[in-house]
């Protein structure tokens, strides 16, 4: 059987995916609690204010967040003990098929990760977070433009 095609989530995804009354949540796995944050920007560097981002790794757990009026997002997960990255998944109005990327931890051994070897060296840094003064790992995601983030066909 053939795969059911994707369609954009549109601008009103919050109704089904971020309901005030019963947010979808899972318990965070045991381990070091960390915060991931950043902004999502379009090809003109305008903030994407109607996106939704999910994070997953078997050791990080799952979390999701919607972007705010400045394109900002924030996710609370567990730091994976055995991997230098977590997977990110992004949808929004104008995104026809979900975008998959990764956040690598700057203090992990990301240079030797096999997925990094597939990426042209100048673009690898688009996936490496910065550690902020607040302790959060910050990764800004550029859907297009000169600083376009690397997206994967997973």
């Amino acid at each position: 059987m053939r795969q059911t095609p994707s369609q954009t989530a549109g601008p009103f995804l919050h109704i089904g995916m971020m309901p005030d009354t019963a947010p979808l949540a899972l318990a965070r796995p045991p381990g070091e609690a960390i915060t991931l944050r950043g902004v999502i920007l379009d090809a003109d560097s305008a903030p994407v204010t109607d996106a939704l981002i999910e994070v997953w790794h078997p050791e990080s757990g799952w979390a999701r967040g919607a972007t705010d009026g400045q394109g900002g997002w924030r996710l609370a997960v567990t730091r994976p003990a055995s991997a230098p990255f977590v997977s990110l998944w992004i949808i929004a109005r104008g995104i026809n098929t979900p975008l998959s990327t990764r956040l690598y931890f700057p203090d992990a051994d990301w240079q030797d990760d096999p997925a990094m070897a597939l990426i042209p060296p100048p673009r690898r840094r688009t996936l490496v977070a910065l550690r902020g003064a607040d302790g959060a790992y910050r990764l800004d995601i550029h859907l297009g433009g000169e600083a376009e983030t690397v997206f994967f066909d997973i």
Partner: protein
Amino acid sequence: MTPLDRTRHPPALTPGYFSSVTRAPREGLIALDPGEAGMTGPVFGSQAIGPLDDDLIRNAALPGEQAIGPRILVHGRVLDESGRGVPGALLEIWQANAGGRYRHARDGYPAPLDPNFSGFGRVLTGEDGGYRFDTVMPGAYPFPNGPNAWRPAHIHFSVFGLAFAQRLVTQMYFEGDPMIARCPIVATLPTVQAVEALTARYDPARDRPMDARAYRFDIVLRGRLATPMEP
């Protein structure tokens, strides 16, 4: 895991759908085996489902009241590419009301809100991958995409399968709707067969007589579940 079939899903850049132009990556995607981590995913059990989550006619209604609109039920199965039902798949659902208005701060369409309808639903597939929910037929509505663009009646779906690599977000349309062929978002789909796959069929055998008409919508996730071991 079988790859995402890029001949089946819309490309990122579809200029006829204006919003895609500044949100489509221009660099090629980097092909990556999902690996062991990609074969896992979050598991949501029945505790994620509220008692009326599969009844959009009543789940936001005042006591004793119901949503306004043509009463329908939507049912089908979530399957893998070998046709095997996917049990325990979580479906998140959202839609406009019968007038084509969303209960959302950014929806300015003048059709009225229904005080008894939120457009939110959630359902978990059973052992055979089957699901069902009750709702009202959503209305068509205009959206800013040139001089006169309308969305056909549709219901949004977000699906969690058994692996994060199976994650799917899509929209379901209704058989016979003349707006389908005119919609710039439908037109992002690469083939007529892809449009057909998102078009629910009227299924009178599953009607609830004197109550609701039934529509059938099957969802095929990428990948194949392991064949159960013979005893």
